[in-house]
């Protein structure tokens, strides 16, 4: 073995992001100086990205169990029972740092990575979603990043043939130097054929499949665990390049192999590549593993062991096969024109041993690599409560405010984005973006369908992390409910700043508290997730953004509803309206203030109102349903009208707080008979009031004024294209 001299080792350790005490701990585990490869392995395995060393103590608070949960956090993705012997497999993951450095490739490989997490478990991916956050839309750089990210998501998802069916986009200057790209994949698998990463069987072959290994992405996980500075764009070589064509072949080949009984365990090579997949598979199974890197398919000549172990080349998987099944597997991968190589075997030593060119390049005991991994109880500082918002006068009037809001960056139509994403491939997409509060995708060959959404309101989270965390979960639950589906579970993508700052760690801890309360109250457990910290550039943190990806099931797709205003219906508002303007879009974009507490989240009311709405939808009594969120009641009415081109005559009235307040737990229902609904709501203890009736070509507000749906639509649809052209 070629050990590093002590001074060189400590110098490199610092360069690789290992803190001095972490390096000492690594030396203690080894009992000697490390090789270069070993130092690389320790640094990526103990990076924030791979080890969750700052977040684990808090994440434990999240509820992860329910009778329908098959696999909670800890595997490649979460798994829930969706009935008829099928399971939904899903996860959301960030690719924030790479997407800032290289938007197209960063976003594309984000999609590729999350797809692999899902089909690794035996699921055919059926839907992609995303949650995107960008800086000030007036900055040319924001437009360049947005354009690249959208092209990257589309370029990858469209090619692999997985429909991109939903997502959300926010703009805020806090993301100027640090956009967020969170990608979610949902797949469907037979519930009794879920594949996991835990290796077993001494002597079983360790098999490498997929694309060849190159020098791209070396130390990507380390890069993703550090703040950005002015020179971050120089880190471009740490960003991987995606090949969606190879991914498509890999999906088909893996699913074909999974239909046989050849696989013992399978894991994709994501962050930290061969290192993390090798370490995790052997570690989870309590095994040892010996790898011979000479046998790794290589794209470039002369790669060292260090480079191969740390490469984050995309579209690669590691398999443990049953003995004697190599030929079956090899034939499948060769059919799909992918590399297949036996690169090692499992041992009973509990060690990972890496051989290359006749030398031992690494020899590490696995158990302490995990058990001795750093775990930080970092100091936290509570975010002070916002003082109550004093009364705010309406500076422009209701109708002018509406017209401004529907064209504002956060509320304008996202059509420019969706129109670049293939939402239909697969032939099962029933509700696309803009048609319902959640995307609805039928389970092929069944009546049942999945409803999926991504949600977070970062301006609420920064103002009150606990309420904001609860609100993000509640909104995901509400969006699924508004289609008629039963929300079942979430994946979370925790995007925060530098955890070494007590204020940031305090945001994290409080957001988790809020999320945990909402998950518990709404029976909506967390089954998978991802943490992205150090989202700061030159010391400026992003808004805390715990993005929630929710999944629900509706047993009969025919019962699902969308949000389009029907031609002839009565409109009823469900839920209590206090006119809460604190942290609302109206307050920010019309009154020019980001102030006050966010709307309170009453989880009991959420549950009661939502269960009532869902029951009404499933009873066939609802023509359309839309939840109230950003922009409040009037924006929601306008969105319904713009979706169908049909207006409404509204007799309910109130001040700007009534029209634009963002009180939670509310829905608009379009029904044939409002009186009947109001009676049922009263019996159920659910606040409800009649708003008016649908029809006509304008949104008419009694004693306030009216605006044509066409004028609203024009403002709504033209806003993002104009922004992107820099107009």
């Amino acid at each position: 073995m070629e050990l590093l001299p002590a001074d060189r080792a400590s110098q490199l350790a610092a360069q690789f992001g290992l803190k001095p005490d972490e390096f000492e701990r690594a030396l203690a585990i080894l009992g000697r100086q490390p090789t270069l490869t070993e130092l690389g392995i320790f640094s990526v395995m103990w990076s924030e990205h791979c080890s969750y060393k700052s977040s684990r103590v808090w994440l434990k608070q999240l509820p992860t169990k329910a009778p329908w949960v098959i696999q909670g956090p800890g595997e490649n993705a979460g798994v829930i029972d969706i009935g008829e012997g099928l399971a939904a497999v899903f996860k959301m993951e960030s690719h924030n740092h790479p997407s800032f450095i290289e938007p197209y490739s960063g976003a594309a490989t984000g999609v590729g990575g999350i797809l692999r997490d899902v089909f690794t478990m035996g699921a055919r991916p059926v839907a992609n979603l995303n949650a995107l956050r960008f800086g000030d839309p007036k900055l040319p750089r924001t437009r360049r990043i947005l354009d690249g990210v959208v092209r990257g998501i589309g370029g990858y998802g469209n090619c692999v043939g997985v429909p991109t069916v939903g997502g959300e986009v926010n703009f805020h200057p806090a993301y100027n130097g640090n956009p967020l790209v969170n990608a979610m994949t949902v797949g469907i698998a037979p519930a009794d054929r879920i594949f996991t990463a835990a290796a077993s069987g001494v002597g079983n072959p360790v098999v490498y499949v997929g694309s060849k290994t190159g020098r791209d992405g070396i130390h990507g996980a380390t890069m993703s665990s550090a703040e950005f500075d002015k020179d971050s764009e120089e880190k471009r070589p740490t960003v991987q390049i995606g090949d969606p064509f190879a991914e498509k072949l890999l999906i088909e080949a893996c699913l074909e192999l999974m239909a046989t009984d050849a696989i013992v365990a399978i894991q994709d090579m994501g962050a930290a590549g061969l290192t993390s997949s090798g370490v995790e598979m052997a570690g989870k199974g309590g095994m040892g593993v010996e790898l011979v890197l000479d046998d790794v398919p290589q794209r470039e000549e002369g790669m060292s062991a260090y480079e191969m172990m740390l490469s984050e080349s995309q579209e690669r998987m590691l398999l443990i096969l049953k003995p004697g099944r190599e030929a079956v597997a090899e034939a499948i991968f060769h059919k799909w024109e992918l590399d297949f190589a036996v690169i090692g075997h499992l041992t009973d030593t509990g060690r990972i041993v890496i051989r290359h060119k006749g030398q031992i390049e690494a020899d590490i005991l696995l158990a302490p690599l995990e058990s001795e991994a750093p775990l930080y109880h970092r100091p936290t500082e509570e975010t002070p409560k916002q003082p109550p918002l004093p009364p705010v006068a309406d500076p422009v009037g209701i109708i002018p405010a509406l017209k401004t809001l529907v064209a504002s960056p956060d509320l304008c139509s996202r059509r420019w984005i969706w129109d670049q994403y293939d939402a239909q491939v697969g032939g099962q997409t029933s509700k696309r973006p803009g048609q319902a509060d959640a995307a609805v995708v039928r389970v092929e060959g069944k009546r049942r369908a999945l409803a999926m959404t991504t949600d977070c309101t970062p301006r609420y989270v920064v103002a009150d992390p606990e309420a904001g965390g609860a609100q993000a979960v509640a909104e995901a639950w509400r969006n699924i409910t508004a289609t008629g589906a039963l929300p079942l579970a979430i994946t979370d993508n925790m995007n925060f700043g530098n955890p070494e700052k007590p204020r940031i760690m305090g945001q994290f801890a409080a957001a988790v508290r809020g999320m945990a309360a909402a998950c518990t109250a709404l029976d909506f457990p967390v089954v998978s997730g991802n943490v992205s910290l150090y989202n700061e550039t030159e010391g400026q943190p992003i808004l805390p953004t715990p993005a929630i990806g929710g999944v629900g099931v509706i047993e009969d797709l025919a019962n699902a509803v969308g949000l389009s205003m029907p031609a002839k219906a009565e409109l009823v508002l469900i839920g209590a309206t206090a006119g809460h303007l604190g942290q609302s879009i109206w307050l920010r974009d019309i009154a020019g203030q980001e102030a006050g507490p966010p709307p309170p989240v009453d989880l009991a009311a959420e549950r009661r109102n939502g269960d009532f709405v869902r029951a009404q939808i499933l009873a066939g009594k609802v023509l359309a349903c839309h939840d109230l969120s950003d922009g409040g009641l009037l924006v929601a009415l306008a969105e319904m009208a713009m979706a169908s081109g049909i207006g409404a005559v509204i007799s309910a009235s109130g001040d700007h707080g009534f029209w634009f307040g963002e009180d939670q737990a509310r829905y608009i229902l379009a029904v044939p008979d409002a009186a009947a609904l109001l009676a049922e709501a009263q019996a159920a203890g659910v606040p409800a009031q009649k708003l008016g009736v649908s029809g006509g070509e304008s949104l008419e507000l009694d004693r306030i004024g009216s605006i044509s749906v066409a004028e609203l639509t024009d403002a709504h649809e033209s806003a993002l294209p104009k922004l992107m052209e820099g107009i």
Partner: protein
């Protein structure tokens, strides 16, 4: 109807097409791998489905047009067989020389994924007999290279011989010459089209505007079934 769908590395709408065909015939079409060397006997229809064959890394459809089974498809077409190419399949038909012209990058240089409406320019083919002449119908489009182009002479021939089967009737978003969405071979047995009728065969998923195309095909080959 006995139909076969050819699957290339990177094809991704073969399942959608199989669902649409099964919906009207009640039987699953044969799924053939591009490395196969023969078509099954007694085929009524070969479908080249949508996707990104070979990643579209060369010109779209160019690599697929050279694959082993495409030689058999060309021979099948030469014998008077029916071949439908949708999206990437249309691109392959052009690259293979079974249809004239080429599909260029969309005029906007962006991938376009949305519904479009087409007008049926002739309803006397196996592909379009489920519609009325002049009928408009909706389908999904999803492509980066759907901008049909051919030289003036070819265009004059296509139009003069009424070989344009489908034309965009709403917006011509990809910039196709004469708003062409689909064209036919002179014997009317090979058709290429960019939009996806196979994604519009179900009232709960995308609507049923594409269903008449498949029903027309099923009726055409009823006796052969």
């Amino acid at each position: 109807m006995k139909a076969a769908i050819i699957v290339f590395p990177g094809t991704n709408r073969e399942r959608d097409m199989a669902i649409a065909l099964e919906r009207v015939t009640g039987r699953k079409p044969a799924m053939l791998w591009h490395r196969d060397t023969a078509l099954p006997q007694g085929l009524d229809l070969v479908v080249l489905p949508g996707g990104f064959s070979y990643g579209d890394y060369l010109r779209c459809g160019a690599m697929a047009a050279q694959s082993p089974l495409m030689a058999e498809v060309k021979a099948f077409a030469a014998r008077g067989g029916h071949v439908l190419g949708v999206c990437n399949g249309f691109q392959m038909l052009c690259e293979a020389g079974l249809l004239p012209g080429a599909l260029l990058k969309n005029a906007s240089l962006r991938f376009l994924a949305m519904d479009c409406t087409m007008r049926v320019e002739r309803a006397d083919t196996v592909y379009t007999r489920g519609y009325q002449q002049g009928q408009e119908f909706k389908a999904t489009m999803a492509h980066g290279d759907g901008n049909y182009f051919c030289d003036a002479e070819t265009l004059a021939r296509l139009e003069g011989e009424r070989l344009v089967s489908l034309r965009y009737s709403g917006a011509n978003r990809n910039g196709s010459i004469n708003a062409i969405a689909g064209i036919l071979s002179p014997n009317l047995r090979v058709m290429g089209m960019m939009p996806h009728p196979e994604n519009c065969v179900d009232p709960l998923v995308g609507g049923e505007d594409g269903l008449p195309m498949f029903q027309g095909l099923a009726e055409s080959f009823l006796t052969a079934a």
